[in-house]
């Protein structure tokens, strides 16, 4: 039976055609969700993936490492000469510091502090920044003027000096107080960014269209406009984590952040700074950790910026 005969023969039953009907939907390309598209675009950026991978490993290292490396990071051993300033060995892979504390355990503890301070102060700062920025951008006029001049004032303050002064009087040396101190000054860029986005978004037609169905200001701001500004905000948030981690290290380095004997990458550098020529690992370990952590957050931020920007042409 040749093909034309097959086609013309009327005795092709539904059962014979049926299997093809079932296959048909599978041939149709499945529509990807917005999140999936962004994720795929992010995956194509190798550098950003490298950053994300490092952060993932760092997270495991800091939070799950202590389960296997059961040395107390605050326990000193001043009495034994061989235990202080010990070079790297099997017992202490990164050596010990001047009072005999294990550098590896302190790096893990310091990492927990740095990461949580960076993340939580970012969250606080972003929430506050969104609040200020969205009201300024949405209402404009006098509200905008007052809020943005306030932001300018905060931006004009010499940040490090004020942080030193404030932490000297108000900080009790716990991560919590450092988080609040950093967040108080970290929201300004987020506020400016959100304001700019809202100024542009409120002119968009879909905002007018949602007004025509009776949406109130709060709904417009937080249900309609904020999700449309999510891209830049997420990027800003990622970069802010890096900035905050550096701020925390600097504060701790100068002794205004996390108080001894609790560990922080910044204060670990302080311990090692006078003896860099003889015991370089004391500085190198925390310095490299800070460097690679901040670099990774920035790379991930850049990757997200590219992935979230629909006008970004694919390279």
């Amino acid at each position: 039976m040749d093909i034309s005969e097959q086609l013309n023969s009327a005795n092709v039953t539904v059962d014979e055609v049926e299997p093809f009907l079932e296959v048909a939907p599978a041939l149709v390309q499945k529509r990807r969700s917005q999140g999936r598209i962004i994720f795929d675009r992010f995956l194509r950026n190798r550098v950003a993936i490298g950053g994300a991978l490092f952060l993932f490993l760092l997270l495991i290292f800091c939070f799950f490492g202590p389960l296997f490396w059961r040395i107390d990071p605050t326990q000193n051993n001043v009495l034994s000469v061989s235990a202080t300033l010990a070079p790297p060995s099997l017992a202490h892979p990164f050596g010990t510091d001047d009072v005999g504390r294990d550098t590896l355990a302190r790096a893990m503890a310091g990492g927990r502090v740095s990461l949580s301070v960076g993340l939580l102060s970012m969250l606080l700062a972003i929430v506050f920044g969104i609040g200020i920025g969205s009201f300024a951008g949405f209402y404009g006029g006098a509200v905008d003027n007052v809020l943005m001049r306030f932001t300018d004032v905060i931006l004009a303050v010499p940040l490090y000096l004020l942080l030193f002064v404030l932490s000297a009087s108000f900080s009790d040396g716990t991560p919590k107080s450092v988080i609040f101190l950093i967040a108080i000054f970290g929201w300004t860029y987020a506020a400016r960014l959100v304001r700019g986005e809202f100024l542009a978004l409120k002119e968009r037609e879909f905002v007018l269209a949602s007004r025509t169905i009776g949406a109130r200001d709060f709904r417009l701001m937080f249900r309609h406009m904020l999700p449309n500004a999510a891209g830049p905000i997420i990027v800003n948030a990622t970069l802010l984590i890096g900035i905050n981690i550096i701020l925390e290290s600097v504060l701790s380095y100068f002794g205004f952040g996390i108080k001894e004997p609790d560990a922080s990458w910044g204060s670990m550098i302080t311990v090692g700074q006078g003896i860099f020529d003889t015991d370089p690992w004391l500085v190198l370990v925390p310095a490299f950790l800070i460097f690679f952590t901040v670099l990774s957050f920035n790379l991930v931020g850049d990757g997200l910026r590219d992935a979230l920007d629909p006008y970004m042409t694919e390279r």
Binding site: E205, A209, S210, I213, G214, R216
Partner: protein
């Protein structure tokens, strides 16, 4: 009173700009009965859309300002209502759809959520309940597989489907009035007819009155009961659709109708246009705004004619001193048109020595 659902009386909307006040809407009056379909026609910038936004009280702030008049909706002046009461009316009693469905939907929200939003705002429905209603609304506006489509984002829809979604959003709470601001302008010609049919059909079903704003006379002819022709912020003529097309009485309406190309016309014959451009609404000319472009113009046109009913036609109103059906007036207008054309020709021949391209302005 009570006969009309919406009665706009002497509405004046001005925009404050650096150079002064733009009289975008300057004394517009019209009325619409429940379930009726009114077409508002006019060229770009004549105040059609501003009229619609004034009714909704959604003028761009702080430049736009309603300077006078009243908008009676259900015997209640919308211009006197506080903002919170106005929010209940928007979407609840009056729905609105816009020209460009591509920009009017929120790109970050699923279609179902956007349709359900009005239901949640006005009827305080739960999200499950509003989704169920959204599915049936999507079906009503003719989108197949609505139950799956509900979770799609606007970018996954075509232009015509997005306009269908907009219609579903506007009609979600079963409003008494739908304002459609050029609902088909951004769409494909083949889709335009479908959308118009849909608006017409759904509104008949729901008993919704429609104000359809357009510059396309074809749209008006197909689906409206009555037409108001606007020019330079004023209504210049209003009549039932059949009457207006059969018996136009304002020179501007006449011009609009004769500038529509016709299939039964001889090929290569010149398309009639209305010469000139609409007046600058910053400094509107005294008297009839159409006078500078009008072939029928007389000295009396320097004072603004009132919008009055034609003798014997209570439903046909025009704002013009001249009776355009009078043969004497028609001869006068034809003569003026000819002399204008001759003037232009004379100007262009004198210019033809130079290589300047002929400009078609007058």
């Amino acid at each position: 009173m009570g006969e009309y659902l919406l009665e706009v009386q002497d509405l004046k909307t001005y925009f404050k700009v650096k150079a002064g006040k733009v009289r975008a809407v300057d004394g517009v009056s019209f009325a619409i009965k429940p379930g009726e379909k009114l077409g508002v026609v006019g060229e770009s910038g004549c105040g059609k859309s501003v009229t619609a936004l004034s009714i909704m009280r959604l003028l761009p702030q702080p430049a736009g300002e309603i300077a006078g008049g009243s908008v009676l909706f259900d015997d209640q002046d919308l211009l006197d209502l506080p903002e919170s009461a106005m929010q209940k009316i928007r979407g609840g009693k009056i729905g609105m759809i816009f020209q460009d469905p591509l920009t009017c939907l929120n790109p970050t929200m699923t279609v179902g959520k956007q349709i359900g939003e009005a239901l949640r705002i006005h009827l305080k429905l739960s999200s499950d309940e509003s989704q169920r209603r959204a599915i049936s609304l999507l079906e009503q506006v003719g989108i197949p597989a609505a139950a799956q489509r509900i979770n799609s984002y606007p970018h996954q829809f075509s232009g015509g489907m997005r306009q269908r979604v907009m219609i579903a959003i506007a009609l979600a709470c079963n409003p008494k009035l739908l304002i459609a601001d050029e609902p088909t302008t951004a769409l494909d010609v083949t889709v335009q007819a479908q959308i118009l049919e849909l608006i017409s059909g759904v509104c008949n079903e729901f008993g919704t009155a429609v104000i359809i704003i357009t510059h396309d006379l074809g749209v008006v002819a197909g689906m409206t009961d009555r037409v108001a022709v606007m020019y330079a912020g004023k209504v210049v003529e209003t009549a039932t659709t059949d009457e207006l097309f059969a018996n136009p009485r304002h020179p501007y309406t006449l011009g609009l109708l004769s500038s529509v190309p016709r299939l039964d016309e001889e090929r290569h014959s010149q398309l009639r246009t209305i010469e000139g451009a609409p007046p600058d609404l910053l400094k509107p000319p005294p008297g009839c705004p159409f006078m500078p472009r009008c072939a029928f113009a007389h000295a009396i046109c320097r004072t603004m004619p009132p919008l009055e009913a034609l003798p014997g036609h209570s439903a046909h109103l025009k704002a013009c001193w001249v009776d355009v059906t009078d043969p004497q007036q028609q001869a006068y207008a034809e003569k003026r048109r000819q002399t204008r054309i001759e003037k232009v020709l004379a100007a262009t021949t004198s210019q033809s020595a130079s290589t300047q391209p002929v400009r078609e302005e007058m």
